[in-house]
């Protein structure tokens, strides 16, 4: 499956989609408000059927946060990447996709744990890995994370 052909198919259902230059996988950049509608459209389209969220990660780019979604169509074996940007560094928020892809429940808890990105409407948003460390304050994968006990700055 050629990425150009896939691009045409996606543009047929999402005419406003913006594509980023990317390597292996076709990449769509979008503002955070559109993530739910994009996921729902890509999942429901009979030509695409992106029904499997195989990876969801966060990213801190110093001036903004991103949440990155890797989607696969188990029927057609297409893979695409969605990059949702969150410009608000103070209080990052994005809609959850956990009702569209159940696996996102855990992924979003992990992203919340490490980046402090809040997922609106998530059914059970709390720390997943660092909850047992009683003095863990803040979110360690943020660029501005400071831990004066354990980390020596240099």
């Amino acid at each position: 499956m050629n990425n150009e052909v896939l691009k045409e198919k996606i543009l047929a259902v999402l005419p406003k989609a913006e594509f980023a230059p990317a390597g292996q996988w076709l990449t769509i950049t979008l503002p955070k408000e559109r993530i739910r509608s994009y996921c729902q459209t890509l999942k429901d389209s009979p030509e695409l059927r992106f029904d499997f969220l195989f990876c969801q990660t966060g990213l801190d780019l110093a001036d903004q946060f991103q949440v990155i979604y890797h989607l696969e169509s188990t029927e057609f074996r297409y893979v695409i990447v969605l990059k949702a940007s969150i410009p608000n560094k103070e209080n990052p928020e994005i809609d959850t996709v956990s009702d569209i892809y159940r696996t996102a429940e855990f992924h979003e808890r992990e992203i919340y744990d490490f980046f402090g990105i809040h997922f609106k409407q998530h059914p059970d948003l709390r720390r997943i890995f660092l909850d047992e460390i009683s003095d863990m304050i803040g979110h360690p994968f943020r660029k501005d994370y400071k831990d004066e006990v354990n980390i020596i700055e240099r």
């Binding site: 890995f129 047992e132 460390i133 009683s134 003095d135 863990m136 360690p140 994370y145 831990d147 006990v149 354990n150 980390i151 020596i152």
Partner: protein, 203 residues
């Protein structure tokens, strides 16, 4: 009265003066003789706990396997229960989530108990990701350590050497006195540098 370990060259143990300082018995003939018998028994049957958190564990298994075979030294059977183990070989990185587990395992071991910190991660946090929010910089912050074995990972020979050093250390003990480190650990004068979770107060 020197401390002898079969099949080790004396040149490997030039530092016997320091070891004599470890000798805690005063010189009472009866007690030192009893000590020798007890220590002989203890030092030649140190049973380790099955505990390994990363690649040093593979090397520890190799040490236990037929080529190096540390059963020769009485480090005989790996025990799956801390109640039956005498020594815990901390083989690998201890992260802060693992630290309470390690402390609990150590607390569950019956006295006399010993700790070997095997490899760079257990000695000092390791050559890799020690400068981070999650790694304990050396197992000494959680439990008291008897023997440090450096290396990444140490070769089986190095672990064997560490085990023999531990045997030497055991041979210098006396049953009259509580070991200093046990007392300090019980009193809490070796405070863990990292706060452990509440679950840790199981007793």
């Amino acid at each position: 009265m020197g401390i002898k370990i079969k099949s080790m060259k004396k040149n490997d143990f030039r530092d016997n003066d320091t070891l004599e300082l470890f000798k805690q018995s005063g010189g009472n003939v009866l007690i030192t003789t009893l000590d020798e018998i007890v220590n002989w028994g203890r030092s030649n049957s140190i049973w380790p706990l099955t505990f390994a958190t990363s690649c040093c564990g593979i090397e520890m298994m190799a040490t236990g396997a037929s080529r190096h075979d540390f059963a020769r030294f009485g480090i005989e059977v790996y025990r799956a229960s801390p109640r039956q183990a005498d020594v815990i070989v901390v083989a690998g990185t201890i992260v802060r989530k693992m630290a309470p587990v390690l402390k609990r395992l150590y607390d569950q071991m019956s006295d006399p108990k010993y700790v070997i910190a095997m490899g760079a991660c257990a000695v000092s946090g390791g050559p890799f990701y020690y400068n981070t929010y999650s790694v304990v910089r050396g197992v000494e912050h959680v439990i008291p350590v008897d023997v440090y074995v450096p290396g990444c990972p140490p070769r089986p020979e190095a672990l064997l050497y560490g085990v023999m050093q531990l045997q030497r250390k055991i041979k210098s003990e006396t049953m009259r006195l509580t070991r200093d480190r046990d007392r300090e650990y019980a009193e809490g004068t070796i405070p863990p540098k990292f706060k452990l979770s509440k679950e840790e107060d199981h007793e």
